[in-house]
Symmetry: C2
Subunit: 434 residues, 2 copies
């Protein structure tokens, strides 16, 4: 295992790195979720990222490297390749119209190729290709072959650029965690709505509409119930929204949309220890491993909560989830622990508890973390993403234009859909209040 | 309008054309449907293809060409480009394992790019690119951007090559029609099964399974009914099978599969006339028009039935269906008729009747003619295509390995699924009869 410091990077690559750091500082932040967190009186704490990060690419026998900065331990050649790639992506991102990607210059061509095709053409080094496949897997739970390049650009643009998606530093996707866990968001919101108004363990099976009402049928523990309302907001991801029976049927453009938005596949695990031995050894707990290695997961982070157990969290994603998801739980756990021992030392074998969750195995999740768009969708069917269908309105993070795919996007989308409903339902004959 | 005969083709391109003709003669034929047609006592008649074919590519102002052979009126350069492309595709098709495409050499790479990306890389002329987009539209109801290149190869391989998909000559997709119409196939089969055993206008909404039974719930005109059986064969296309509620839930690999198989979009029209004036003028009735022209349809054929009205059938497909599908019916009809007048003469304006069908507008069709596979699907989730889920078996033309996407494929798939069920249900302890 060798350590690779930014200082080792030759002088001529210092400038691109400063440029990258500059991009980060200027990036957007997750304002919608942060406002909600504040409103609900919750506290955040930063993702722990002090110490050495582990980086393993290029096959099972390749050297395991460590680094301390936000730039991985890449050779000068790969670093140059990365800098150029980021520059190209940032330039393209700046041209994307997130609200209507079909208006992006050259949209049809950008939407006709996969992210894989783009990187094959514009990335020179095998290591950076592996690195980008890993990013795709850890951000989307998908391989670069499975999504439209225009979708990828739109997703990055909605986050303020590509780097904010990938980093855990200021202004980026993984910057903060919520003290006590993110489930408090749902719990606090449910309390505000009134717990008696929230139905849990009840699946919406059908939505019927007529001139007066939307009627929502739910199936709960064998019994069905129907609720009548003036408007319904569907917040579940597109592949689940597609399973609801709509009467009258939704417009075909909406159906084509949901047929072209597959969800990612990620298995999350949390492993707890008596002590955060990795911190004592100078590691941050962040490990990234390419699919060419024999490591089942693509990424881990420190997950020690304030006052709680020492823990690491990690993800088995994309083709690795497809491959490992069908194996026995014990086999998966042993493979994860072996890799942790390899990267962090023999202490990793003495864990207290290993917990995993494969959302794909849950009928009403079906996957995670987000639905992507297959090639050719944005060009032809994107306008149906947020367009209400009669009394049915669409929310969910996939419909967001800022931090699409993240909790912040879900909040933005919910607020937008709520405003649409309020505007529609205001008493006729009255002007909206100033 | 100029006529372009094969004889005009320079000597050095005669050989590739012979090669193409050779491919056709050796192609597979639609044996499964032909056997069923024979068994049911139905008659076929060949698709009328005598006379000049109209060919319009390269923009609204481009010359409208006509030709008589199976090779379109292409310039020597485009013809050479086509010959090379067909040669490459045929070579690749020969390597595809239709039963398990993930075993094809280089499968991951072939499945990571769209058909569009492949043609951008391997086709030199803009005209051939337009030609191939038209083929994609008329065969799949989709743009080349919307499907995996490996899927395209598998589909062609299942038909015996690319040319059989595109032609209406011996051994190819559009060779025969059924006297009296293809609906007779369903009618005759329903009679054999017993009409009282066939439920029409009844949608399957749920399939429940336990150790003993599969229970199929259908919703018909407001009332629901449940049928218990030992095995259920689901024959509807993947995007509709995905809408059925399964309890217990299907394995996630099957769900990922249906999320990645969008259906095509085609609007079919039939226009009838007092006389087949096009035949009198030496036209076959076949028109192909690229999307760069102002013609709404991509292809028409003669559809005069024996002893019936003179008629033409045509298709508005892919991005043209997306564009024209949302317009008024009258506007669509006028655009179709204008184009027919332009290509076949002023007689086309005096039609008797214009009938169209947009299957995308029907809730229980949702599109046509076939579901394709988005990039990245075949590599990871293809094994779930035909794999039974407990007491549920999968048929439908998308699951066929010969003439996948065609009626012949549907028959092959149905026979395969029926055999699977028979093998499973045979009394235990008994050996199958010799």
């Amino acid at each position: 295992m060798i350590e690779w410091e930014a200082a080792q990077c030759p002088q001529k690559y210092q400038q691109p790195m400063a440029l990258i750091a500059g991009t980060l500082e200027g990036s957007g932040t997750q304002t919608h979720i942060m406002e909600l967190v504040k409103e609900l009186g919750l506290d955040t704490f930063p993702q722990y990222n002090i110490g050495k990060k582990v980086h393993h690419m290029g096959g099972p026998g390749a050297r395991v490297r460590t680094y301390r900065n936000s730039i991985p331990a890449l050779s000068p050649l790969v670093l140059r390749d990365l800098t150029q790639f980021l520059w190209k992506i940032d330039r393209l991102c700046a041209t994307v119209r997130v609200e209507d990607p079909s208006k992006t210059p050259n949209a049809v061509e950008l939407d006709s190729v996969t992210l894989h095709s783009y990187t094959e053409k514009h990335v020179w080094t095998a290591e950076l290709k592996e690195e980008l496949a890993l990013c795709s897997r850890s951000v989307f739970g998908m391989e670069p072959s499975q999504m439209s390049f225009l979708f990828f650009l739109m997703y990055a643009a909605a986050a303020g650029g590509l780097l904010p998606l990938l980093e855990n530093t200021a202004g980026s996707a993984q910057e903060f965690k919520i003290k006590g866990g993110t489930q408090q968001l749902s719990e606090c919101l449910a309390e505000r709505v009134g717990l008696r108004n929230v139905r849990l363990r009840a699946a919406v099976t059908a939505i019927w509409q007529d001139a007066e009402w939307a009627r929502v049928t739910i199936a709960a523990a064998g019994a069905a119930a129907t609720f009548s309302c003036r408007a319904a907001i569907v917040t579940c991801p597109p592949h689940l929204a597609a399973k609801i029976h709509y009467d009258p049927a939704l417009p075909s453009r909406r159906e084509f949309l949901t047929q072209n938005m597959p969800v990612g596949h990620m298995i999350k695990f949390i492993i707890t220890y008596q002590t955060a031995f990795w911190k004592e050894k100078g590691f941050s707990g962040e490990i990234v491993a390419g699919s060419s290695t024999d490591c089942p997961f693509c990424v881990t982070f420190d997950a020690t909560s304030p006052g709680g157990n020492a823990a690491l969290v990690g993800f088995i994603a994309g083709r690795q989830a497809s491959q490992w998801g069908s194996k026995e739980a014990g086999q998966r756990r042993n493979a994860v622990v072996s890799s942790l021992v390899k990267y962090l030392g023999p202490e990793a074998a003495s864990f207290i508890h290993f917990e995993e969750r494969d959302w794909a195995a849950e009928a009403y999740s079906g996957g995670c973390p987000v639905n992507v768009m297959a090639p050719g969708l944005l060009t032809y069917y994107h306008p149906s993403l947020r367009k209400p269908c009669g009394r049915i309105y669409w929310a969910g993070t996939e419909t967001a234009t800022q931090w699409c795919g993240y909790m912040s996007g879900a909040v933005q989308a919910g607020e937008r859909a709520a405003l649409e409903v309020l505007a529609e339902l205001r008493p006729t004959g009255l002007e909206p209040e100033e």
